[in-house]
């Protein structure tokens, strides 16, 4: 895996029934432990500054695709450190070939920290330039 959260490989448009419905990219967890899906807090993505909120985003983890609402209930499905997750973003028509600045925010809960800093670990945004081929 690449060291950064956002990986170069895997950035592509999503095709469904012959139509481009969005785009996706892969991420790895930078936390030192895997997390249960219900520990995750919603993701937001920016593409060259254009914002895509949590309702436009699903996650694919170990072959299964989830909405944020579904993940919030899944305390027994695990995202391991060696599993790349795919972030799927809804955008009819997808993205043209080119270089894009991708920004991603999401965080997670850590119960062994004081509640004041429950989600502090994931508070830093991830930014990377990705190439759409």
């Amino acid at each position: 895996m690449e060291k950064d959260c956002i990986q170069s490989r895997g950035f592509q448009n999503i095709e469904k029934d012959g139509e481009i419905v969005g785009f996706q990219f892969k991420i790895r967890s930078l936390y030192y432990r895997g997390v249960w899906l219900s520990q995750l807090r919603p993701a937001t993505v920016w593409v060259n500054g254009e914002e895509f909120g949590p309702d436009k985003i699903t996650w694919t983890i170990r072959g299964e695709t989830y909405t944020h609402e579904e993940m919030a209930q899944l305390g027994d499905v695990h995202w391991g450190l060696l599993d790349l997750a795919t972030i799927n973003v809804e955008k009819p028509g997808g993205l043209e070939p080119g270089v894009y600045e991708i920004k991603l925010t999401y965080t997670w809960s850590a119960s062994y920290l004081p509640p004041r800093i429950d989600t502090v670990f994931g508070s830093r945004p991830h930014v990377k330039k990705l190439v759409m081929v």
């Binding site: 895996m1 690449e2 060291k3 790895r28 030192y32 432990r33 895997g34 997390v35 249960w36 219900s38 520990q39 807090r41 919030a72 209930q73 305390g75 695990h78 391991g80 450190l81 060696l82 809960s109 119960s111 062994y112 920290l113 004081p114 509640p115 004041r116 800093i117 429950d118």
Partner: protein
């Protein structure tokens, strides 16, 4: 397998390599590193270092024991969590917490780990555990016996040895007489030197620390220690934590167990730094232990 001698023994937590794992090093690379510094004790974190956790494959488990043999490693401590805030907006029930514990007891037992670093959810700045901890730990004791594991909360800064929490843990052990609940002492509680300003959480109140010389009376409760360290100098001294005095106290009290390196320095994101720093720490520990 070689016999384990009595006394203070050296080991490493794979946590030390958090910046390398899956990027520059595989689990086997990390085992090779640990072996090459003459350490034998091993700590892994279940959620972090077992692919397919919580359902490792039979093939992976078989390979696990091959690697223990190949690198002459001893499974010592298995890190796991009771994620009290697993679901947003509520705390786990006693029953749910118990289920989480048992799931990890089984995996730890399968991989040969006798000690667990049991991380509980906390409710305040001084890391006071959740209110129902005694209920689910008590309920878990028969299972811990069945799976032959000792649950050990980690006593970690800013907690001090004389805190109400540590007293409560010790009273619980005395009262129940259990051999399946104890303590893991993280040497960060003995830190003497302030961290650089830019490394501190600005919202955190100032932290108190214990002295190594206070540790003696607690050692009968201690099954394992985290040899937390921040930075090893070129002359092989830890800059922030008084290791000479800590190891001396362990030896004066004839403590028998593993001290497991936990590297938590400032440059751990840089490739190669963890290997270098843990290696330096083991050169120091070897000298202090008198191996």
């Amino acid at each position: 397998m070689r016999m384990e001698r009595k006394g203070v023994k050296r080991g490493v937590s794979v946590y030390s390599y958090a910046g390398e794992y899956g990027v520059t090093m595989t689990l086997e690379d990390i085992f090779a590193d640990i072996h090459s510094m003459g350490a034998r004790g091993l700590e892994i974190l279940g959620n972090s270092h077992i692919p397919d956790y919580p359902n490792p494959s039979e093939a992976w488990i078989e390979r696990w024991f091959e690697l223990m043999e190949k690198y002459d490693l001893v499974p010592v401590e298995y890190g796991h969590w009771v994620d009290s805030r697993l679901y947003q907006g509520r705390e786990l029930s006693t029953e749910e917490s118990l289920e989480m514990l048992i799931r990890d007891f089984k995996i730890a037992n399968r991989l040969g780990f006798p000690i667990l670093r049991t991380k509980l959810g906390v409710i305040d700045e001084t890391l006071t555990p959740v209110k129902n901890w005694k209920e689910f730990i008590t309920a878990a004791l028969p299972y811990a016996e069945k799976y032959n594991v000792v649950m050990c909360p980690e006593i970690h800064e800013p907690t001090t040895l004389d805190s109400a929490m540590v007293q409560e843990y010790c009273e619980f052990i005395d009262k129940t007489g259990t051999k399946h609940f104890g303590l893991n002492i993280d040497f960060g509680i003995f830190r003497e030197k302030e961290l650089p300003k830019d490394q501190m959480d600005p919202g955190r109140p100032p932290m108190e620390h214990s002295k190594p010389e206070e540790l003696g009376p607690y050692l009968p409760y201690v099954y394992c220690c985290h040899a937390k360290f921040i930075e090893m100098s070129d002359d092989l001294e830890e800059i922030y934590i008084p290791y000479d005095r800590i190891i001396a106290v362990l030896q004066e009290n004839n403590w028998d167990g593993y001290v497991l390196s936990e590297y938590e320095g400032f440059h751990r994101g840089q490739p190669g730094v963890a290997s270098d720093q843990v290696r330096r720490q083991h050169a120091m520990l070897k000298r202090l232990i008198g191996e």
